[in-house]
Each structure stands twice: as structure tokens, then as C-alpha cells.
Amino acid sequence: MDQRERFDALREALLAYDESGVARAATRLVESGADAGEGLDLMASTIREIGDRFEQGEVFLPELMLAADAMAAGTAVLTAALPDGARKSLGTIVIGVVKGDIHDIGKMIVGAMCSAAGFQVVDLGVDVAPSAFAEASEKNGADIIALSALLSTTLPVQRDVIEYLDALGVRDRYKIMVGGAPCTAAFADDIGADGYALDGAEAARIAAALVGRPQ
């Protein structure tokens, strides 16, 4: 197998959402002495294709999530092979559905799209208290905290999280993004969030812009 075929195998495994296949292909690349950074770039462009197809309604959420998992497996192998300081992650996003809300499909789409864009995503799940966002963000060295809410009654809890971080004196350490069906750009401004997105693809673009890496 030549080098081109090894790269092709990595791409094919990712397009098949094959987590162990991606890890294997990435390992073979590293063992062959290929440029790990080139492998990461290939995975990034491939997963952007998958994200575009999701936006077009040709690929569905489970495939997006499986692709994100597969990408993470490949990224772990390839970044370990990079020289120190050459990690290619765009940053870390701590994401969750705010306290009182258990509707998580939007959060999963945003999480998967951000993973696809090259972020490390720490998913706290649903019904997440402000303190849990604060603790997880500190523990994981988050760059961005992403807050989701589906209901008009849970939307104000996004403000509670920001106020909680303010009260702890750590608000300025993070960029904060908000979203979810009842959320609007005006509401995001009103509560002092740094970014708002209508859907997953836009969320990934805004997240990249917030960390100074517009795509």
C-alpha cells in the first residue's frame, strides 16, 4: 500500500463512520512515517463534506455523530504523532442543555458539527446546572461554553449560567454561545452572550470565529 492509498483508506473509513477503521488507518499512516498534520487536514476536509451533506439533508444526525466519534479516534492517534505544540484542535467547547430542559437533539447537532469543524467537544448532556458548566469548563480548559435550551421557560436559564460565571469572577475566561429554538440574536445580546447561532452549521462557523480561527 502506498502513501496515497493510506490517506485514501483514512478518508474512506471516515466516510463510512467507522471509528475503529479510522483509528487503524491513522495508525498505519503514522507507522508509515506520513505527515500526521496532513492526515488531520484530510480528516477535517472530509468531515466538512459530511457536515455539508447534513446541512443539505442527505446525511442524518446519527451519521454525523458517528463521524464525529470516528474523527475523534483518528485525531487522538494523529495528534499524538505531532511535534509538541503542534496540536491542531481549534479549541475546547463545553456544551450542554441548561437546567430544567431535557431536549437535546439541537445540542447534539451543534456538538457534532463543532467536532466536525475541529473542536474538542465535552458534552455535559441535559438538565445541566450552572455550577456543572462552571466546573466542567475549568476542568477541561474550555475556550467556549455552549448553552442550549428548547423551551421558552428554560431560555432564561442561559442568563443564569452567565450570571453564575460572573459571580465566580470567571466569565471573561470563556466565550459563551447560546442557541435553541426560542433563542434569538437579540436575546443573546441581552444576556451578554458572545455568539448565537440558528443551526449547527452556523454554530460551528461562529465558534471558529470566536476563537480567532474563522473558516
Binding site: G57, L61, I109, T154, V157, A181
Partner: protein
């Protein structure tokens, strides 16, 4: 062999263990994909209202097989509630064919409707869980109460109590929920229709829902709408609320959501998933009626796009042909456009025609995807809904399909382009002193009705059912 409620509870704690993510990605999605392929179900953008009974029956078959193959996941115990195919059919055959809701002169019987049924559909109207400003709450409900087209009122969401912001699970949520139901009662009393059925609840916490079960709030003649969790899931809270509601004696409608683009896959999988969720909603929650919907994940929770209409119509038809349940049909509850726009009325018309011809009742709620405060048109929406729904009972499916496609051509590019018009709020669509719609909204309504008549919808028939 039918399955008792107690047996469901037992299975929710003792069934096979399955982590949520495994269920979503490794169990549900591949099974749906396989069933869609095996039953040769494919999306046809030209047949939005399906005339192919073979396809409709295959969708039902695939939905029933999906439920028997994967079951329902209890997300608290992470155990699967499994059913055999025989248990599914035997238990669902016990579901009621009709139910009477409301009281006194306002009592209405909701019956199962068949595909191309000429019976007048049950009309549910109201803000439909969209936020309603506290200062206009009572006026909104009185306005709907004065409109004879309204068989039942689907309430809005109160997000403040005396100006204090409601937080989920807090005492303010319970108080807001109680005040909201009480406002509907008072509004309809003022309108002279005190026995009208209310459909709720907008509250999320079990305490708030259960706290509203009482003679001053939800009566036994009202309907509580309880959702089975998205994509064949249920949790302890839902089982508790349903058990309490059954004990209390109010009516229950149970609904499932099959997102297009979510864990069921594309529109074909969403149609299959919606059938499975409708079956599961009776097996697990024992509602007396059901509602199902298949919104798009990509364009916000609207349901008037082509793929969503196709999946909804197919699933409604499958349930109508194979289940005794009355299907209330949430199809047009949330429009992309705001009220007082052509697109808003076109969305209501397209969704209503598609769902009513396929065996559903009719409902409409709000614009702006139901998520922006006060973006519902009020009683004129309800009148329009009833007129279109009644006219749709005179259509066969090919005629309905022609009308729906013609309407889609008028607005679907605005969904794709995320360019649906903002429209106007309730306060802008109505005179809040007289509670009458504005001249502008009435003129638009008349213009759109002329347009619909030209497309072949006989709205004159409907007028006699409204006033």
C-alpha cells in the same frame, strides 16, 4: 395478549440494559434504515399526499416491526421495554375509537377518522405553547373563546408571573401554569363558552403538571398532552405524570416526535418512526388519542416543508388505516412565517389539507416556529383552520395533493432560504379592545381564501360549519 400498565413499569426496570447513545446510534438508526430498505419505502416529492395504499400499509408494517425489534428505552433505568408483535397488535386494538371532551353545551366527541373521511375534524386552536405576554393573556383567550370555530383551546406558555421570570421546576412555574389555565377558563367564561375543553400542559416539571389537575384548573373533561420522549424513549417523570393523570381522570393525548434528519434518518425513516411512536404512545402511556409530527431538524421545528408534509401525511394515513385511535394531528402547529402574511396562511392550508385528508383532526398554533412571543394570529387563524379543514373533507387524495403542491410552490423556497416573513404579533393582528382582527388581516384572509378557491378548495361548504 395485551400488556398491562404494571407490566410496562416492570419492563422499564427489568428489561435488557441499553445505554442511551448505544440505543440511538447502534440500535435505532440501523434498524430504521434496514426497515426502510426492506419495505421499499422511498420519498416521493411529487406525492406529498400519498394515494398509494400499498406504500401506506408498508409504512405501518415497518413502524410496527420497528417497535417490536427495538422497543422503547427508559432513559432513567437505561432498560429497554420490549414488546412482541402480538402484544403490540393486541394492546393497540384496545385503544378507544372516540372520546368526548369538554362539558355541557361545549362537549365535543372526537372520533377516529379514516383516510378521505368526510366527517368534520375536531378543531384545536390557540397559541399552542407559544409564549403569551402576561398583560394580554386573558384577552387572547377571550378572543379565541368568541370564535365558534374553536372546539378546544391549546393554551400558550406563560413565562412571567407578576413580571417575575418563570424558571423551570420552580414554584413560579407551577404558579404560572395555574394562572394560565385559570385565564383560559375565565376568557372562555366571558365568551359564554365555559365548558370548552382545554388542551395543556405547557409546564415541564411533574409538580407543575400534577399541581394543575384540579377543578379550578384542568378539569376531568380537559385533555393533557403528554409526549413520549423523542425517538422511542420514556422517562420516570413521564410515567409518573401519566399515572397521576389517569388516576385523576382527565383525558390524555400522547404524542411522539420523529425528527427528519434525526435518529430515524430521512423522511422515510421519520414516517416509519412516527408510526412506531404512535403505537408506543398507546402501549406505554395509554392515551385516549394521539398526535404525531415529523418536523425537520435542519430548518427549525416547522412542519410545513415538503419532506415534513410527506412524512406526516404518510404516517397519519398509516395510523388511520390500522389503528382505532383518534389522531389529533399536530401537523400545522408551527409555521415558519409569522401571522398576517400570505405564507403563514398558505402553510396552515397546506398542512391542514394534507393531514385532514389522511385521517387526522386539525390543529394550528403559532407562527415564527412557535418560539417567539405573541406570534400567533388569534381567532381568525382558527376560523381559517376550520374552513380549510372542512373543505378538505370533500377532497380525495389526488386532489389534495395537487392543492398542497401548488401551495408549497408558493412558499417552500423561503423555508430553504431561511427567509420566511416575520409577520405580526397577536396585538398587531387584532384590536385588543374589541378583540376583532384588524382590517388588514381580514383582507389578507379573504384574498388567500380566493386563491384557495381557485386551486379547487370549496370553502363555501365550510362557512356553514363555522358560524
Amino acid at each position: 395478549m395485551n400488556v398491562s400498565v404494571q407490566e410496562i413499569w416492570r419492563r422499564a426496570e427489568t428489561g435488557p440494559t441499553c445505554p442511551v447513545k448505544t440505543f440511538d446510534l447502534k440500535v435505532l438508526f440501523p434498524t430504521v434504515r434496514d426497515l426502510v430498505k426492506r419495505h421499499e419505502i422511498s420519498y416521493d416529492p411529487e406525492a406529498v399526499v400519498p394515494s398509494d395504499d400499498g406504500l401506506i400499509d408498508r409504512v405501518y408494517e415497518a413502524g410496527a416491526e420497528l417497535l417490536s425489534e427495538v422497543g422503547v428505552l427508559c432513559t432513567d433505568s437505561e432498560k429497554l421495554i420490549r414488546f412482541t408483535r402480538e402484544e403490540i397488535e393486541d394492546t393497540v386494538s384496545l385503544a378507544p375509537r372516540q372520546v368526548t371532551v369538554g362539558e355541557g353545551r361545549e362537549a365535543v366527541t372526537i372520533s377516529h377518522r379514516d383516510v378521505e373521511d368526510d366527517s368534520v375534524p375536531f378543531i384545536m386552536a390557540g397559541p399552542h405553547f407559544a409564549s403569551v405576554s402576561e398583560d394580554i393573556q386573558l384577552k387572547v383567550y377571550e378572543a379565541y373563546g368568541r370564535e365558534p370555530a374553536v372546539d378546544s383551546l391549546v393554551l400558550g406558555t406563560a413565562t412571567t408571573v407578576d413580571g417575575l421570570e418563570v424558571k423551570p421546576g420552580s414554584v413560579l412555574e407551577m404558579r404560572a401554569a395555574k394562572q394560565n389555565v385559570a385565564a383560559v377558563r375565565e376568557g372562555f367564561r366571558r365568551a359564554g363558552r365555559p365548558g370548552t375543553c382545554i388542551v395543556g400542559s405547557e409546564a415541564t416539571s411533574a409538580a407543575a403538571i400534577i399541581g394543575c389537575c384540579g377543578p379550578r384548573y384542568y378539569r376531568r373533561s380537559d385533555i393533557l398532552d403528554i409526549s413520549i420522549g423523542v425517538q422511542l424513549k420514556v422517562d420516570h417523570k413521564t410515567l409518573c405524570v401519566v399515572d397521576h393523570c389517569r388516576d385523576y381522570g382527565c383525558h390524555l393525548t400522547v404524542d411522539g416526535t420523529a425528527f427528519i434528519g434525526g435518529f430515524f434518518g430521512g423522511p422515510e425513516g421519520a414516517a416509519v418512526g412516527a408510526v412506531a411512536e404512535t403505537l408506543a404512545s398507546y402501549l406505554v402511556l395509554r392515551g385516549e388519542m394521539t398526535s404525531l409530527w415529523a418536523p425537520e431538524v435542519n430548518y427549525g421545528p416547522g412542519m410545513s416543508g415538503r419532506r415534513s408534509l410527506w412524512a406526516n401525511a404518510l404516517a397519519h394515513a398509516a395510523c388511520a388505516r390500522h389503528m382505532p385511535y383518534p389522531v389529533l394531528g399536530w401537523t400545522p402547529q408551527q409555521c415558519y412565517a409569522g401571522p398576517c402574511t400570505d405564507m403563514y396562511l398558505h402553510e396552515i392550508a397546506a398542512s391542514t389539507v394534507a393531514s385532514v385528508v389522511c385521517g387526522s383532526s386539525a390543529t394550528h398554533g403559532a407562527g415564527r416556529r412557535g418560539v417567539e412571543r405573541d406570534y400567533f394570529g388569534g381567532p381568525l387563524d382558527a376560523r381559517f383552520l376550520r374552513e380549510v379543514a372542512v373543505a378538505a373533507t370533500r377532497l380525495d387524495r389526488p386532489a389534495a395533493n395537487r392543492i398542497v403542491k401548488a401551495l408549497l410552490e408558493r412558499y417552500e423556497d423561503k423555508i430553504r432560504g431561511k427567509a420566511a416573513p416575520t409577520g405580526k404579533t397577536f396585538q398587531e393582528c387584532n384590536d385588543t379592545d374589541t378583540l376583532q382582527p384588524t382590517r388588514e388581516y381580514v383582507d389578507l384572509y379573504e384574498k388567500v381564501k380566493e386563491d384557495l378557491e381557485a386551486l379547487g378548495l370549496d370553502l363555501r361548504v365550510a362557512a356553514s360549519h363555522v358560524s
